[in-house]
C-alpha cells in the first residue's frame, strides 16, 4: 500500500466537495453542445460525457499530483467526447465549441498536427469554460475525433504502447504505417462524401430538367425519379376502374427489377413507361374490373408495367416469376401468381402482336 501525499489528499478532498458542481457542469456543457450539434445537423458516431471518477483521479494525482496547485488546475475533471464520422466534421465541431464556450488556448491541443518524428493518430482537445453562470470558472475538456481516430485510440489503449519510452524501430514503423493508412482512409471518406453530395446535386438537376438519358440508373437517381411521381398518371387511370384509394408503398425494390431488365439509365425507364403504359393499364383493368377492390398500392402501375414488359419480351412464366421473386421475395406462391398473370394476359390485345 502506497502512502498518499498530504497534497494529493487535499486535492481529493476538494474534488469530493466540488463533485456536485462538476456533475452540474457536465450536464450544462453537454446539453449546450449536443443541442448546437443537432441544430447544425452534424451526424455523430458517439457523444460521451463523464466526470472523472475518484479512482481515476487518485491514479493521476499519484503520478503527477505535484503539477497541480488546486483542483481546477486539472482540466479534464469533466470530459465530453464527440466522435464524428468525417474529418471535416471535427473541424465544424471545433468551430461550434469556439462559439459556445471560452477556450483556454494555452492548454488546448490539436494533436492531429503530428510532428514528423512522432506516430499515432490523434484527436483535437479543447479546454473550455462556460461563457456565463456560476460554473464559468471550472474548466472542462472537449475531445473531438473521427470514428477512425476513436478506433485508433481504443486499440492503442488495448495494446498499451502509449507511454512506452522506447519501442524497437520495426514497431514504430508498423504503427506509423497504420496511422498513415487510417488518416488516408479518413481523408478518402470525406472526399467521397463531397463527391457523393456533388453527384446527388447533378442527378437532381438532370432529373428535374428531364434529361433522363444522361442519368445512369442508381439508387440515388431512381429515388430522385420517384420524387417526380412518374407513375401517378397510370396509377390514377387504374384506380379509376373501381374508384380506388391509392395507398402509399415503397417502390425502391423495382430498381432491382430494372437492373434485371438491363436498363442502364433513366431514359430506358422513361421509354419503358411510354411503350408499356397502355398495356399495363389493360392488364390491371382485366384483373380489377371483375372485382370491387377499391384500395390499391402506389406501386400498382409500376408492377403492371414490369409484368407486361416481361411478357412482351418473351420472358414467359419464369420471367414473371423472377419479377415476383424480386418484388415479393422468393416465395413458393410466386409461380402461381405468374401463371395467373400469364393466363390473364392471353385475352389482351398486346398478346396478339407478340
Amino acid at each position: 500500500m502506497t502512502l498518499m501525499s498530504p497534497h494529493t489528499a487535499e486535492l481529493l478532498d476538494a474534488y469530493r466537495t466540488e463533485l456536485p458542481q462538476l456533475e452540474q457542469l457536465a450536464e450544462q456543457a453537454s446539453n449546450l453542445l449536443h443541442n448546437a450539434l443537432r441544430e447544425q445537423n452534424i451526424q455523430l458516431n458517439a457523444f460521451e460525457i463523464r466526470v472523472k471518477s475518484e479512482e481515476s483521479l487518485t491514479g493521476k494525482l499519484e503520478k503527477k499530483g505535484y503539477k497541480y496547485r488546486t483542483i481546477y488546475d486539472i482540466t479534464d475533471l469533466v470530459g465530453i467526447r464527440v466522435v464524428t464520422y468525417y474529418t471535416d466534421d471535427v473541424d465544424k465541431v471545433a468551430v461550434i465549441t469556439k462559439q459556445l464556450f471560452d477556450i483556454d488556448w494555452k492548454n488546448s491541443v490539436d494533436k492531429r498536427k503530428h510532428q514528423l518524428n512522432s506516430f499515432g493518430y490523434l484527436s483535437l482537445h479543447h479546454i473550455c469554460y462556460l461563457k456565463k453562470g456560476p460554473l464559468r470558472s471550472i474548466p472542462f475538456e472537449i475531445q473531438m475525433r473521427t470514428a477512425l481516430q476513436h478506433v485508433w485510440s481504443a486499440i492503442e489503449h488495448d495494446i498499451g504502447y502509449k507511454g512506452a519510452v522506447k519501442l524497437p524501430p520495426e514497431f514504430v514503423r508498423q504503427f506509423s504505417r497504420l496511422a498513415g493508412m487510417l488518416e488516408m482512409a479518413d481523408d478518402e471518406f470525406s472526399r467521397l462524401r463531397t463527391t457523393m453530395t456533388e453527384y446527388r446535386r447533378q442527378v437532381q438537376s438532370l432529373v428535374k430538367s428531364g434529361h433522363f438519358s444522361e442519368v445512369s440508373l442508381s439508387t440515388e437517381s431512381f429515388r430522385q425519379f420517384l420524387e417526380l411521381h412518374p407513375f401517378d398518371r397510370l396509377n390514377q387511370r387504374i384506380a379509376a376502374v373501381n374508384q380506388a384509394e391509392i395507398f402509399p408503398a415503397p417502390m425502391m425494390q423495382y430498381l432491382s427489377v430494372f437492373e434485371s431488365f438491363r436498363f442502364k439509365d433513366l431514359g430506358d425507364v422513361q421509354k419503358f413507361m411510354e411503350e408499356n403504359s397502355e398495356d399495363a393499364y389493360q392488364l390491371a383493368l382485366s384483373q380489377l374490373a371483375i372485382t370491387d377492390l377499391d384500395i390499391l398500392s402506389e406501386s400498382i402501375g409500376l408492377q403492371n408495367l414490369c409484368l407486361v414488359y416481361v411478357i412482351k419480351q418473351g420472358g414467359g412464366l419464369y420471367g414473371l416469376k423472377a419479377v415476383y421473386d424480386i418484388i415479393n421475395g422468393e416465395q413458393a406462391s410466386n409461380i402461381a401468381l405468374a401463371e395467373s398473370i400469364l393466363h390473364q394476359a392471353q385475352q389482351l390485345p398486346f398478346m396478339h402482336k407478340i
Binding site: 408503398a249 384500395i295 402506389e298 400498382i300 401468381l337
Partner: protein
Amino acid sequence: MKTTFEEKDGKYIMHFEGRLDTAASVQTEQEMKVLHNCEGHDIILDCAQLEYISSSGLRLFLGLLKVAKAKGSKVCISGMNDNLRQVFAMTGFTHLFEFV
C-alpha cells in the same frame, strides 16, 4: 367471420375463419385491436381458414401493418390460399407483407 387470438413463443397470433367482408370488418377491427399492443412481439395473421377478403379487410391488414411497423414488429401472413394471395397481388400489396 370468427377470429381467435393467442400468444405463442412470444408471437401474437390471430386466426381468421370465414369471410372478411365489409359487414364483418367492423367487428373484426375491434377484435384486431389486441394486436396493436405489439411492442416486442411479431404478429402472425393465420389465414388458413379465411375464405374471402374484401377491400375493408385489406384496410384492416394495412392499418395493422402501419401500427406494427412503428413499434418495430413484423407482420406475417400464414396459410393464405392462392385465391386470396391473388387479391394481394392484383392490388400490389404482396410486397408489404411477409407470407409464410
